[in-house]
């Protein structure tokens, strides 16, 4: 029998030594006065290296697709600009009192690269700073939108930035979803074709965090029940729309499904006027539809929303080219 007592005593002493430093309160963890520059540099180096390590095997998608930077611009203005500033206005004063101080991205973005590192920073955030990770860890597509936007940020002046975030729009819904909720930015859904029931359920799912979207979670968390119902009534106009109806192969899937591959018809649920809780697809933005189909297939019910578990079964055997065809067929 080995005598463990000396080891236990040693471990106890070591723990006491470790605990003493924070317990005594002598360790400086205050933001005012800010931490010394040498500590800043030390933590910064660690953050840089940790970001680099996490970005090593990241596959970078195309960053010049239509709508990417427009989709992110509104989120930047709503969430990021307070701390990082924008071509239109400097950051809020409170952010200058943070320690470490958030960088002014209009000036600093030009020096930051490559895209994979920017992606890792946005997705995971940086500990011991005020930089949070992306609100939804399932929506890499949104993070890449933001990377695409940030890469163009140094080239934007006040005017081009203002037009990108649609500064003239009243209210934050309109800047992305269009003045009448008719959409406009590729990949952003139009709202006017939906019923108020559907829109209210979607906003509530974003607000409680069950439906995944960093942008919409940030937007919906500011809303009360009353505001949600008001917005749903305002935008959910149930406008009848016809899709373009091409390509033809999609029509067969939409109307009859592919029963031998266990793919039911889209129209069984989505054209049904008696079921106001299911979204309308006719006339919806094709890029948005394709994005949602991919989310259902990749994340199944974790994509969130009251009926995601049903769609998860529906898209299970749908191939990507079929998803594209369906998105185009339903799209305007």
């Amino acid at each position: 029998m080995i005598d463990f007592r000396p080891y236990l005593a040693g471990a106890g002493l070591a723990l006491f030594g470790l605990a003493w430093v924070p317990l005594s309160g002598v360790l400086p963890r205050t933001a005012e006065p800010p931490q010394p520059a040498v500590l800043d540099a030390y933590y910064n180096l660690a953050a840089q290296q940790s970001i680099t390590l996490r970005s090593l095997f990241t596959e970078v998608p195309a960053l010049d697709e239509a709508g990417m930077k427009e989709r992110a611009a509104g989120h930047y203005e709503m969430v990021c600009a307070d701390c990082h500033g924008s071509p239109l206005r400097p950051p809020q004063q409170f952010s200058r009192n943070l320690s470490p101080t958030p960088p002014l991205l209009v000036e600093r973005m030009a020096q930051w690269h490559p895209p994979a590192r920017i992606f890792a920073t946005l997705k995971h955030g940086i500990s011991r700073t005020a930089m949070p990770g992306w609100p939804s860890q399932l929506r890499d597509d949104e993070v890449w939108d933001m990377v695409a936007f940030l890469q163009t940020l140094p080239d934007l002046n006040a005017n081009s930035y203002a037009s990108l975030i649609r500064e003239d729009a009243t209210g934050s819904c309109e800047s992305c979803h269009g003045v009448e909720g008719q959409g406009g930015i590729p990949g952003t859904p139009r709202l006017d074709i939906q019923t108020p029931d559907y829109l209210a359920a979607a906003l509530k799912a974003f607000r409680n965090g069950s439906r995944q979207s960093g942008t919409m979670m940030a937007a919906a968390r500011q809303l009360s029940d009353g505001e949600i119902n008001q917005l749903a009534e305002h935008y959910g106009r149930n406008v009848a729309q016809r899709g373009t109806g091409t390509p033809a192969e999609a029509a067969a899937i939409a109307q009859n499904g592919i029963p031998e591959r266990d793919i039911p018809a889209c129209a069984s649920c989505h054209n049904n006027p008696a079921r106001p809780g299911y979204p309308k697809l006719d006339g919806q933005d094709p890029a948005y539809l394709l994005g949602q189909l991919k989310l259902f297939k990749e994340h199944r019910e974790e994509r969130g929303g009251p009926n995601a578990h049903i769609m998860a079964e529906v898209v299970r055997f749908l191939e990507e080219d079929e998803m594209k065809a369906l998105a185009e067929w339903y799209g305007r």
């Binding site: 029963p259 018809a265 069984s268 008696a274 049903i310």
Partner: protein, 345 residues
């Protein structure tokens, strides 16, 4: 030291005394035996290969009893020989006796015994050459975790149903078995042997029920999480009764109240109810669902409460089922769907 940790060199007597030849140990053993007997007696005859209700099953049961009897005789002879060798006369036998014993006991007896078993076994093999047309053809497609069943009517049309098999008594039924996903196996123990259902291939099995009654068929090849819940009731009718049943199954469903709720929830995307909703051939056909005995391929008896539970949480009742939960439906819609389905007689 724990009682069960006995060193390998402990003398047997000591070991037995230590591990269990105690009053409680004996009582435990005895009650376990008694329980097993009760449990075996409780075996359900509806899924028993030893209570044959079909031609093949009867032959298989005969073969089983024949082999068991032969096995019992062989066992008794050998045990007798062993006991005799231990307790019998201590004086050595002559070399001639030993030679004869080895020759007759080790060569002649096994040759004759095994040949007899082979003859009986071969005689039971189905006669493939004899290709008379069966009285009924049934197409069975196994899917995770249910059975798509289609009867070939006399005019060649198919009458589709699911998860419940009906057969006429005394008629040969030919099953064309296939699968859409993984290998399953179609087995109705009281009616006959099992046959695999293999994707991309059609296997043919013939069965001839000889006794009316309700039996239970099962999937006999592990096929996924709910393999054990992939069963189906088998109802063997008198021939006339069967024809009436088939004729009734051939009819489209009568419109029933609650149809709007069924449509609105999108049930028709996956389920066909002939005459009402005909586009979704993904899941089981529900045309005459209300006339069936079970929900979820033999998983639960068909009752109003069970059906409602099934709509709310199918995954909890049958893990891995493709049917999504409809817990998010308003209660009155779900109740309307339940009533509608029960009305589909």
């Amino acid at each position: 030291m724990h009682k069960s940790c006995v060193p390998f060199n402990t003398p047997a007597r000591e070991y037995m005394g230590q591990a269990g030849r105690t009053w409680t140990g004996n009582a435990c053993r005895f009650s376990l035996l008694a329980l097993t007997a009760v449990w075996l007696a409780g075996c359900n005859t509806e899924q028993s290969a030893l209570h044959p209700a079909g031609q093949d099953a009867a032959e298989l049961a005969d073969l089983f009893w024949f082999m068991t009897a032969i096995g019992a005789v062989v066992w008794c002879v050998f045990m007798g020989a062993a006991v005799y060798a231990i307790l019998g006369k201590k004086a050595p036998r002559s070399e001639k006796f030993a030679d004869r014993l080895v020759f007759f006991g080790g060569v002649v007896f096994p040759t004759i015994g095994l040949a007899a078993l082979l003859v009986v076994g071969l005689a039971l093999l189905p006669s493939w050459a004899e290709a008379d047309t069966p009285d009924l053809r049934v197409h069975v497609t196994a899917e995770q975790f249910w059975w798509r069943i289609a009867y070939e009517a006399e005019d060649g049309t198919l009458v589709e149903t699911a998860n419940e098999l009906h057969l006429p008594n005394g008629a040969t039924a030919e099953f064309a078995l296939t699968s859409t996903d993984v290998i399953h196996s179609f087995w109705i123990p009281p009616l006959g042997g099992k046959m695999d259902a293999i994707p991309g291939r059609t296997n043919v099995l013939r069965l001839e029920p000889t006794k009316e009654g309700v039996y239970r068929g099962v999937c006999a090849e592990f096929c996924g999480t709910s393999h054990a819940l992939m069963a189906f009731p088998v109802v063997v009718h008198e021939a006339g009764e069967f024809n009436a049943w088939l004729e009734q199954q051939r009819q489209p469903a009568r419109p029933a109240p609650g149809r709007e709720a069924f449509d609105a929830a999108g049930c028709g995307a996956c389920h066909i109810v002939r005459g009402i909703s005909e586009e979704g051939a993904v899941g089981p056909d529900l045309t005459h669902f209300g006339s069936r005995r079970t929900i979820g391929a033999g998983t639960l008896p068909l009752t109003e409460a069970n059906l409602e539970d099934w709509l709310i949480a199918p995954e909890h009742i049958k893990p891995g089922v493709r049917m999504p939960s409809f817990a998010t439906l308003p209660d009155q819609d779900r109740e309307a769907i339940v009533q509608f389905l029960l009305e589909l007689k």
